[in-house]
């Protein structure tokens, strides 16, 4: 699909998703629908969908190891092998998975192939390319911190880690000096980093021709959805404030199965809530499911022990074979008549059959 159409399409879908709760709450006052029903439905879709996806992956056979070429595998004791890149046991696999999940090791290895014409002829280069890794790391960790900070709405009493995160995240007190106008002293760094990383990831997609070519609405849509989510959150925290004590009452109502919708929560909150509901409901059906999928990547989570352990293919089933001996048995006379060489001569056959008494 043409990338402009993809972007327009995703943009329009996200705009509609913003408009639905806006109209629904501002014009029709459907607060219970958007405050309680939609979030519950979205959570149900998320949890059932994720479990179904993981069970689905779990049921597919993974008979063989997929050694990647990232490291020397274990062979002879005096040949040095790469304990983490190509582990032979579970310990190495665990470390490799930690690197993958926490530090995005595979992305870190990203290189860029470049074809250049120099004065003395063409040249192929593998360029060091860490920006994608950096932006991805920035995005995921910001999102995680923001998600965890939201636990002040989800839990009562508020657990200690939330306070620690808030302190760390707001420690520059940016609101006091450089960016006054944001109206609160603790401007959270992760809010800014998230938007920055998302913007970079979006621009990168349309800037690099190859990436642009392979990008689909399924790539732009989640980016735009999360951008809209972040934007409504930032608006709500720094500019169009809502009564967040009432918001907490609503959230606790959801988590204790005693849903209530307190009076006087601004529309922007319902837009924010609707967007996150759509995001989590979209998870199991989209590339976002890599949140669970990363743990089941066969190239990362299996020890490279093919030389030590026999792995049997479950699809191997007894194939009906017709060996050459059987073939010759069947066609020997015809073969001899046609002057083709045979392995056993007919006299011998007769002798044998006399001995065993199988044939006349």
């Amino acid at each position: 699909m043409n990338f402009i159409i993809s972007i327009l399409f995703s943009g329009i879908v996200v705009s509609v998703l913003v408009l639905i709760p806006w109209v629904g709450v501002a014009a029709f006052d459907l607060r219970f629908l958007f405050g309680v029903v939609v979030p519950y439905l979205a959570m149900a879709v998320f949890f059932i969908g994720m479990v179904a996806r993981v069970i689905g992956w779990g049921r597919s056979p993974v008979p063989f190891r997929i050694p990647t070429t990232a490291g020397q595998q274990f062979s002879l004791p005096w040949i040095k092998y790469s304990k983490i890149e190509s582990p032979k046991g579970n310990g190495g696999v665990i470390i490799r998975m930690l690197f993958e999940v926490l530090l995005f090791r595979s992305l870190f290895r990203n290189t860029r192939l470049e074809y250049r014409r120099l004065a003395n002829g063409p040249k192929l280069d593998y360029e060091w390319e860490k920006w994608l890794w950096l932006a991805a790391l920035m995005f995921h960790y910001s999102f995680l911190v923001i998600f965890l900070r939201h636990f002040r709405f989800f839990m009562e009493p508020i657990p200690g880690f939330v306070h620690i995160l808030e302190k760390l995240d707001g420690f520059l007190q940016l609101g006091v000096l450089p960016v006054s106008g944001l109206n609160v002293p603790s401007v959270f760094l992760t809010d800014m980093l998230l938007m920055l990383a998302l913007t970079y990831l979006f621009l990168r997609r349309i800037y690099i021709p190859q990436t642009r070519y392979i990008s689909l609405p399924a790539d732009y849509f989640p980016l735009f959805l999360i951008l809209a989510l972040g934007l409504t959150g930032i608006l709500m925290r720094y500019f169009i404030r809502v009564d967040i004590t009432a918001v907490k009452t609503l959230a606790l109502g959801l988590f204790t199965f005693k849903p209530t919708v307190p009076e006087g929560i601004g529309v922007i909150f319902f837009i924010h809530l609707f967007l996150i509901s759509m995001l989590i409901a979209y998870f199991p059906f989209s590339k976002l499911v890599h949140m669970a999928g990363v743990f089941l990547s066969p190239t990362r989570n299996l020890a490279n022990n093919s030389r030590m352990k026999r792995h049997i293919n479950p699809w191997d089933y007894p194939v009906k074979v017709h060996t050459y001996e059987e073939y010759e048995e069947e066609f020997r006379e015809l073969m001899i008549q046609a002057g083709l060489p045979v392995e056993k001569q007919p006299e011998k056959v007769e002798e044998q059959s006399e001995e065993t008494g199988e044939k006349e």
Binding site: F47, M50, V51, V54, I55, W57, G58, R59, P61, V62, P63, F151, R152, F154, M155, E156, I158, P159, V162, H163, E166, G175, S180, N183, V184, P185, R241, V242, D243, I244, T245, A246, K248, T249, L252, F255, T256, P262, G264, G266, A292, F295, L296
Partner: protein, 128 residues
């Protein structure tokens, strides 16, 4: 299932983490904060701006007041009703809301905000 046991264990841990708000709050009775007004505030009836504005945006107002006082020297604020207030955290807000622990902190504890203002500004002494 290949490595079925491990996958199920991982799945349960993941679900447990994501469902933790449900588990944490289960069976707990939570109550929304009820900020209490002092007799003095009750007598005044109105805050420096309308209640909805104060509930949602008092931190923005304070932020603006601070900037205007400290940076521009403008010490008086005219409320929408035409009343004039001295822009001050201690002298205005907390004269009326002198029950800080039962008013400001009531909400702030519920939401887990600890305004660092009181490192310099002096909170009113409360009886009891």
């Amino acid at each position: 299932m290949y490595d079925g046991g491990k996958i199920i264990v991982g799945l349960i841990i993941g679900l447990g983490l994501l469902l933790s708000p449900f588990l944490y709050n289960a069976g707990k009775a939570t109550k929304a904060p009820e900020p209490q007004l002092t007799p003095k505030a009750k007598e005044a009836k109105v805050c420096v701006a309308n209640t909805n504005f104060m509930t949602t945006k008092h931190m923005q107002l304070l932020d603006r007041w601070r900037d205007e006082v400290v940076r521009e020297g403008k010490r008086y604020y005219k409320s929408p009703e035409g009343k004039v207030y001295y822009k001050s955290l201690q002298v205005t807000c907390l004269r009326c809301h002198s029950n800080k622990t039962k008013f400001c902190d009531e909400c702030h504890n519920y939401m887990g905000v600890e305004p660092f203002c009181w490192e310099c500004h002096i909170a009113p002494k409360e009886k009891e």
